[in-house]
Symmetry: C2
Subunit: 467 residues, 2 copies
């Protein structure tokens, strides 16, 4: 949420390059204004910045060929999956073209024995889970949006299941990546662990298309648990809710999800999903395991919650009750928007060590009281990650500034608590200054790597780092 | 295990630099032959290559100051923890000095709420576990040797517990690293997850001192499980043992350890530890969880084992029985050496996708029959990782060559099965050619990163990559 992008760049796409791209791709390369406009926006609140052309790729070889043309002409190249990023990651702030990978949507192989799968970058997480439904396996990472797996890898996405299953950092086993000069590499073989050289997989995960374009991904899968159960529990105090989270994690309960909603978000959820939950600080839980293991987990967590004043621990083991509960959680974003019809949401995203979570949320809660628009809170608290949903008037510059200032105070508070400016959304355009505040001198190492791998700065320039 | 190091370098340490180091460190900088000799060997079978001097550092600031002196004089710098590496990682093949970090042995902070700890690089894993014994927490990574945590991070170590707890890749939350020019950076704050920029933590983990010198490490900790149980189970066939492993992993049993020993290794273990286990293909298991959870895990795995012909599933829940069983497993290396008194061991280290593990071990087992020395097998099979212990005559050049050829065939077999040339030992000197065979063009990206971060090639030169 820093300042709007500066657009003083000259056109970068020239006629010769456009002709080469058209010769390579036919109608799959276009400069149509409507297609460009569609590729110049995401789910952030920034004003769109369309690319100068859009190339729809069908294979790693095609991505290579496209990048080679762009490298020769020094034209910026931006990878695009589903357009669900939240920090302006795919805006063409320095011009150039977008490579749309959504038609690279094949599941290339599934191994039930190895619990892994290789997909093209355009496969979305829901499509992957539909594809493997009959295998008894599933892919757990769930960032909310039905994002492409390439985009999820590029932003190091996570979401509600990360407390048990990790983030994209832990679940990507290997990548095929097209580099700035068009060469394609594979970052790793399929062994579960390796000490063979620098960890290029983890370097490209989270690099937001600035070091290479991810075209294929090998991912870990998990057996669908024998039993799944869910629960909702209101707390008289925020501290009680957060202490319950800490003790749950410490006790070694292998909890799959722990989500926090504040009273305002609970009011929004009740209204939107026609529910009648108490409108207090609330935790949503999900438990995965064997039938008896889940029963034991539920009993442990219920006892911990009661120790912090919770009186009404409602649990749901039937799939339809569970779905209703989690659908309500998943709809929290839309529910929050309905608190103020016609508003636009700005979503924040800090993550702190769990010992500081109560302080961070309490201080932020007090800070929210000072702003002039509704700000419900929701969090993946098992990881120390939470979001504010700033429901601002889209036409009000002053509200936007208020939201930016609120976000900045929240990020600085998180950094002072040894936390991060972004738990899962990424840096994009919006958090480049905060990245420096967070990492200091280490940012210069990131810059050295960027310059070494992309000396002409054509890969998603103007994101993460000012090179 | 490639050719012995080439030692045609000219002296790199000059008098001016030695005087500056002595002024900085006093007697903690030495060129004493015996100290140098001690720092020029590890647990590999390569002939030692001592450094030209050894500096004992007491702080990150001192490491910075040492590296600044060396950078100015372009003198190679090698980090040293406990000297337990297995591929010649710390040999001064291009001369220069060693920085011994073993006196940086302070546990800097422990957070029971956050389940994390920050240590200086010289703290060993056993010392860490002693230090935190009263907190109810433990650090699970166990590579066998009582290695320093800095060394374990630098080689991306793992060991018997990785199937449940992951490797150093998953358990390092952040690092303090001194770069080639002496600047110190911190790679991450303490949040459990972050999408803030390039993953420098994972880049330095496994870089074997070639990109920076790790001086402090923040690590994940885990609650000591309520219940721990262990079991030993012999199988009539290798396939039966490996199918039991695959089904255990697939069933979602959160097993803590699954170790494989072949009949020759079982014979060695029986002799060395005075035990009477059947001398067949054998799995050692360890289960962590709640009391009822562990009982359920044991029952599940026992049923799976019986489905593959196992008849004698012996389990041990009492601490003393369990210790005896795991002590026997931990002593396997020494037991293997006793198969041939006076021998020297060369340890190999491949890791394959688990679906290929039976094939890989079977083909390797057949291959072993052709060599002229004993070769017991032991493996962390839950991860697809296994080792041969080549018990060669230390004076026989022909046996060394036979072992190298056996290793090369095994690595190539693993790579053909989409596996890795090193699951946990690292590249060092011994696997530089195999790294190229494994990663192909991706090695050029590693080289670009190395050149960008260490343009004068002073950080552990001649390891991992030929720059």
């Amino acid at each position: 949420m820093s300042a709007q992008p500066n657009l003083k760049h000259a056109p970068r796409l020239n006629e010769a390059a456009a002709a080469e791209l058209a010769a390579l791709l036919g109608e799959r390369f276009t400069t149509s204004p409507s297609v460009r406009a569609h590729h110049g926006k995401d789910e952030s609140s920034f004003a769109p910045v369309p690319p100068e052309g859009v190339a729809f790729a069908h294979s790693t070889d095609e991505v290579s060929a496209i990048v080679k043309i762009c490298a020769r002409h020094k034209i910026p190249v931006i990878a695009y999956g589903t357009g669900t990023s939240l920090e302006g990651h795919l805006f063409a702030v320095e011009g150039g073209i977008t490579i749309d990978l959504s038609q690279m949507d094949k599941v290339l192989r599934v191994s039930a024995d190895d619990l892994d799968v290789t997909v093209e970058a355009g496969v979305t997480r829901k499509r992957l889970n539909e594809h493997i439904r009959d295998t008894g396996l599933f892919f757990p990472i769930d960032p909310g949006a039905d994002a492409s797996l390439g985009g999820m890898a590029a932003t190091r996405a996570s979401g509600t299941n990360a407390v048990r299953y990790g983030t994209m950092r832990e679940n990507v086993l290997g990548l095929t990546v097209v580099l700035a000069d068009g060469r394609a590499i594979r970052t790793a073989k399929r062994a579960r662990k390796s000490s063979a050289g620098y960890d290029l997989t983890r370097l490209f995960v989270g690099s937001e298309g600035t070091l290479g374009i991810i075209t294929e991904i090998t991912l870990r899968l998990y057996g669908i648990p024998e039993a799944i159960s869910a629960a909702v529990c209101p707390f008289p105090t925020l501290e009680g809710a957060v202490r319950t989270v800490i003790e749950t994690i410490q006790s070694g309960v292998p909890i799959a999800r722990i989500e926090f909603l504040d009273p305002l978000m609970m009011r929004a959820v009740n209204r939107y999903s026609k529910l009648d939950y108490p409108e207090s600080f609330t935790l949503f839980f999900e438990f995965h395991g064997s039938t008896s293991g889940v029963a034991e987990q539920v009993a442990t967590v219920e006892a911990l919650a009661q120790g912090h004043g919770a009186e009404n621990f409602r649990w749901a083991s039937k799939p339809e009750e569970r779905s209703k509960l989690w659908q309500a959680r998943h709809d929290a974003y839309f529910a929050g928007l309905q608190l103020r019809p016609g508003c636009r949401a700005i979503s924040t995203d800090v993550c702190v060590p769990i010992s500081r979570l109560a302080d961070c949320i309490l201080e932020t809660h007090a800070d929210i009281a000072k702003v002039s628009f509704p700000v419900p809170i929701v969090g993946h608290v098992g990881d120390g990650n939470f979001h504010l949903l700033c429901a601002i008037d889209p036409d009000s510059e002053s509200e936007r500034k208020e939201a930016e200032a609120l976000n900045e105070r929240m990020v600085m508070r998180a950094l002072a608590m040894d936390g991060t400016c972004t738990g899962e959304h990424g840096v994009g355009l919006g958090k480049m200054d905060f990245l420096i505040a967070e990492h200091g001198e280490a940012v210069s190492v990131m810059r050295q790597i960027k310059r070494a791998l992309d000396p002409d700065n054509i890969l998603n320039p103007g994101k993460i780092l000012r090179v």
